[in-house]
């Protein structure tokens, strides 16, 4: 067996130290080691986007990302999005729900994380994206239920 490696990182705001094998994928670290099942295994080959998480604010496919590479970084999964004591959830999630953009929901957590990253980038650059730019931003997240229309509408409503 390969030698295990110690990594230090922040997951959903919590500093964590773990010793893991070097070949471990980030999705397995999240789902199996940490038991956070909100990140979904849709294809495990970087095609569907269901396993998207934020690493230092950037959306990545956690199935294509080696877990050791989060050393010193900040990881946010869908479970890391804030919920207020009143049960209010993140505006991105709320927009998707209110616009009817959630059907079976398996793609939704990954979709939420991609949109989070995109919205943050737009806000930083001070731009209001066009529908085409929104479509481009979520191109890497497959959805088989909604036909994407309501997802795009939900993102538009955030600006």
């Amino acid at each position: 067996m390969s030698q295990s490696i110690k990594i230090n990182f922040t997951i959903n705001g919590k500093r964590t130290e773990l010793t893991i094998p070097p070949y471990m994928l980030l999705i397995d670290l999240i789902r199996e080691e940490l038991g956070l099942k909100g990140t979904k295994p849709g294809c495990l080959e970087g095609e569907c986007g269901a396993c998207t998480v934020l690493v230092n604010g950037e959306a990545v496919n956690s199935c294509l990302y080696l877990a050791i590479n989060v050393d010193g970084k900040e990881v946010i999964t869908v479970e890391g999005l804030p919920v207020t004591p009143e049960g209010e959830i993140d505006p991105v999630q709320e927009a998707l729900i209110q616009h009817g953009a959630v059907q079976c929901g398996f793609c939704t957590p990954g979709m939420v994380m991609s949109i989070k990253s995109f919205v943050a980038q737009c806000n930083k650059d001070n731009i209001i994206p066009s529908p085409d730019e929104i479509k481009k931003a979520i191109e890497g997240n497959l959805c088989r239920c909604t036909g994407y229309v309501k997802i795009v509408e939900a993102v538009e409503s955030l600006f």
């Binding site: 038991g35 956070l36 099942k37 909100g38 990140t39 979904k40 295994p41 849709g42 294809c43 495990l44 080959e45 095609e47 569907c48 269901a50 999964t77 869908v78 479970e79 999005l81 919920v83 959830i89 999630q93 998707l96 729900i97 209110q98 616009h99 009817g100 953009a101 959630v102 059907q103 079976c104 929901g105 398996f106 793609c107 939704t108 957590p109 939420v112 085409d132 929104i134 479509k135 481009k136 979520i138 191109e139 890497g140 997240n141 497959l142 959805c143 088989r144 239920c145 909604t146 036909g147 994407y148 229309v149 309501k150 997802i151 795009v152």
Partner: protein, 764 residues
């Protein structure tokens, strides 16, 4: 309607959306049970071979492996409705999906590693991969368990006719004959298949956490496969990450998981990766349709004669019965005096087809609608006019004896023609756009069951209701949620009837030990059948509440209204909170619970042996008009606008309805332009999202939806089935639009740029 509707018809976000969007919903792959093992399946290396030997000794020795089973170790009956598919194959394999052995181990990785250590010696054989080859007189029997009655390789023949076809042929001014090749498409549910089996060797009961769309039929079938009593099997549906018909059948991985749990006495989980999902989950039927259609000189349709060969694959799923639905379209979509329909599901050594949203109707509609454009062209008629002239109408009794008690076909056609800006000279204007880019508009309609579908001794659904002492309602329904929004639709109906807030309503629908019987999610039946069942139960519940409330308010039952959590007397204006009334029922003699049950059986009828009869209580109709732009240099097709008008009876939840329409239309675009599971000599060539493309966000055109409300007399609030319909007309409307734009005669799906360029070259 007796009063203004307060909840029905208002856009309502799905009740379960918050839990799903928050990552807290538990899908099949998220289930974790104490002491759980992980299973993996060894599939054959070759599509067709004799199995000479299986040596599992090395796999058994791998640390962490708890059990390895082969066909010789198990006592299980064959699955599927023809009982032609062994759970683990013995002696021979018949397609690349075939299961040979299975492993249970402490981790998924060890189970997968152990599978690789199983040594199988094969004697590789030639297979038959073309159904026409399989139909030859000297073809060997492909499935050893079923010997067809017309030919050894015909799994299921269908024959239907009505009218005097020869007389209609003589009346025809034009006759068009076309051969259509329709591809294997697959569901691509975002959640791959997953099951967790938990067998207790103490009480001899089996609990399955699974993703079936038909829990009660699944329970009964599983019991038969495992030689158990159905009541000893409990089906708990996890949150289902996409169904689309794929979960209508049982697949071998499900009883295999149960067998591994029985063997080890521990819970076992099997999950597919994406490649296994592509190879081992079902497809839409690949088929060849020869369709001859006629029309008289005035453009009235005279007859259709359809001869269909379906590639069944090596085993028979419910998918083989799709001709049951196809024949409805051939016989009855648009008025038609005569029809012959002959379809055969033929065994081959390909992967087997299953049921898929639309259930054969996308294929049938493609053929019918392409031929209509060709008839119009030959008659020199406008393609919209010819459709309108033949449209279905209210109170029509079709040749197949289906009764259209409500019908918005004509209206749907008129709406999409109007909204798309279609005019007979449109294509010429579009064609002049430039030398390179050409635009065109295409039409297609659709007819589908919308009020249940009688295929099983009961087409019904049960509902239990209980209102607790705090006025909160629990709906326990036999129906299932597969993402389509049924929970929300049911809760909206209860909110409407009882005047209580949606947040005071829960829907329980996942456990066969608790919920009453339902035939399953299929045939777009849930809103109609489960909705009517719920309304029946609500009526009983309200009788209980009203009796007590009338007593308390010293008034008549007819005087009461349910509003804002109160039951109010309209004459005195006095009211009681609904929970107070419940407590009066519960805590005062004769001390009753506020609970009721109701079973609803729709009026759908079994067809006779000639396939005639009113198979559904009502039917859905739709029309689509689609505009495309073709790049004649690259062959690329851009879908610009899709106009959808659909007879939904009555809009219950506009938000959920639009989602069904948009999702269905986009799935139809995939069928038209992108999707084909390629198979060569029985091997699947593109089992991943890189090589099997489904539409992404950037492919999406403008989708315009116009609901047509015909207020069906039998539907809940007038509603009829919706879910399958939107994808059915999309592919033929796109194909017709492409032909309109560039004049090539494409008849095979998917219409890829390569095919467009080749056709342009050949036509030049």
């Amino acid at each position: 309607m007796k009063k203004d509707l307060k909840v029905i018809g208002k856009p309502t976000p799905k009740l379960d959306a918050r839990i799903r969007a928050s990552g807290q919903a538990v899908y099949g792959q998220d289930v974790v049970l104490p002491n759980m093992l992980h299973g993996a399946i060894l599939r054959t290396k070759y599509p067709v071979a004799d199995i000479v030997s299986i040596d599992v000794s090395k796999a058994m020795q791998l640390p962490g492996v708890v059990a390895v089973i082969t066909g010789d170790d198990i006592n299980a009956n064959n699955i599927n409705y023809k009982r032609d598919n062994p759970v683990l194959k013995r002696g021979r394999v018949n397609c690349i999906r075939d299961e040979i052995a299975a492993v249970a181990a402490v981790t998924r990785e060890i189970a997968q590693e152990a599978v690789k250590l199983i040594e199988v010696k094969y004697n590789v054989k030639e297979g038959i991969f073309d159904p026409f080859e399989a139909l030859k007189d000297d073809a060997p029997q492909i499935n050893e368990f079923v010997k067809g009655d017309q030919h050894i390789n015909i799994a299921h023949p269908f024959y239907y006719e009505h009218g005097d076809i020869e007389a209609q042929k003589r009346k025809s001014a034009v006759i068009i004959k076309t051969r259509f090749e329709l591809p294997r498409m697959t569901h691509c549910c975002l959640a791959p298949c997953a099951i967790t089996a938990d067998y207790s060797n103490v009480d001899k009961r089996l609990t399955l956490y699974c993703v079936t769309q038909i829990p009660f039929l699944f329970q009964r079938d599983m019991a038969r496969v495992l030689n158990m009593a159905p009541s000893d099997i409990r089906i708990i549906q996890t949150v289902i990450g996409g169904g689309f018909g794929s979960k209508l059948d049982m697949y071998p991985y499900e009883p295999i998981c149960a067998l591994l749990s029985m063997e080890t006495g521990r819970p076992v989980q099997i999950t597919f990766d994406r490649e296994e999902e592509f190879i081992a989950s079902p497809t839409r039927q690949k088929m060849t349709i020869d369709l001859t259609s006629g029309a008289d000189s005035k453009g009235k349709f005279t007859f259709r004669e359809a001869r269909i060969i379906m590639d069944n694959g090596a085993y028979t799923s419910w998918g083989a019965t799709t001709p049951f639905v196809m024949m409805q379209t051939f016989s009855s979509m648009y008025q038609l005096p005569a029809c012959i329909f002959d379809a055969k599901a033929v065994y081959t050594n390909n992967v087997y087809a299953g049921s898929f949203r639309g259930y054969g109707n996308p294929q049938a509609t493609f053929a019918v609608e392409r031929n209509i454009d060709l008839l119009a062209e030959k008659l020199g008629m406008d393609k919209f006019e010819i459709r309108l002239k033949n449209a279905n109408y209210k109170d029509e009794l079709t040749g197949q004896e289906m009764k259209f008690i409500s019908c918005g076909h004509k209206e749907a056609l008129e709406i999409v023609s109007d909204k798309s800006g279609y005019s007979p000279c449109h294509s010429r204007e579009g064609g002049n756009l430039s030398n390179r880019y050409k635009r065109g508009i295409g039409f297609a309609s659709m007819l589908h069951v919308g009020g249940g579908a009688k295929i099983y001794p009961s087409d019904g659904c049960g509902t239990n209701l209980k209102m607790d002492d705090f006025g909160k309602l629990t709906i326990i329904t036999g129906s299932s949620e597969i993402g389509q929004g049924s929970e929300t639709v049911l809760a909206m109906m209860a909110s409407e009837e009882l005047g209580i807030d949606l947040k005071n309503i829960k829907v329980i629908n996942t456990d066969t030990d608790i919920k009453p019987w339902d035939v399953g999610v299929h045939a777009s039946r849930t809103t109609f059948v489960a909705g009517n069942s719920l309304l029946g139960a609500l009526k009983l519940l309200k009788e209980k509440l009203s009796n007590k409330a009338a007593q308390l308010l010293k008034t008549e039952i007819d005087d009461l209204v349910y509003e804002d959590g109160l039951i109010e007397s309209t004459t005195s204006g006095e009211s009681f909170k609904i929970d107070k009334v419940v407590r009066e029922i519960h805590f005062k003699p004769p001390n009753e619970l506020c609970a009721v049950y109701y079973y609803y059986e729709p009026g759908s009828e079994f067809q006779d042996k000639y396939y005639k009869g009113n198979v559904s209580d009502t039917y859905a109709f739709a029309a689509q008009a689609i505009e495309v732009e073709v790049d004649t240099y690259t062959g690329n097709i851009k879908v610009l606008d899709i106009h959808v008008a659909q007879d939904v009876g009555k809009v219950i939840n506009p938000l959920g309805l639009a989602g069904q329409i948009e999702g269905g239309v986009v799935m139809g675009m995939g069928y038209a332009l992108l999707e084909e599971l390629y198979s060569e000599k029985g091997y699947i060539l593109n089992p991943n999202f890189h090589d099997y493309k489904i539409p992404t966000s950037v492919d999406i055109p403008n989708i315009h939806f116009y609901p047509v409300e015909t207020n069906d007399p039998y539907g809940p609030y007038g509603a009829k089935g919706v879910g399958e319909a939107p994808l059915i007309p999309t592919a033929p409307a796109i194909a017709n639009a492409i032909v309109d734009a560039i004049g090539i005669r494409i008849v095979d799906l998917p219409i890829t740029p390569e095919k467009v360029l080749k056709a342009l070259k050949n036509d030049a």
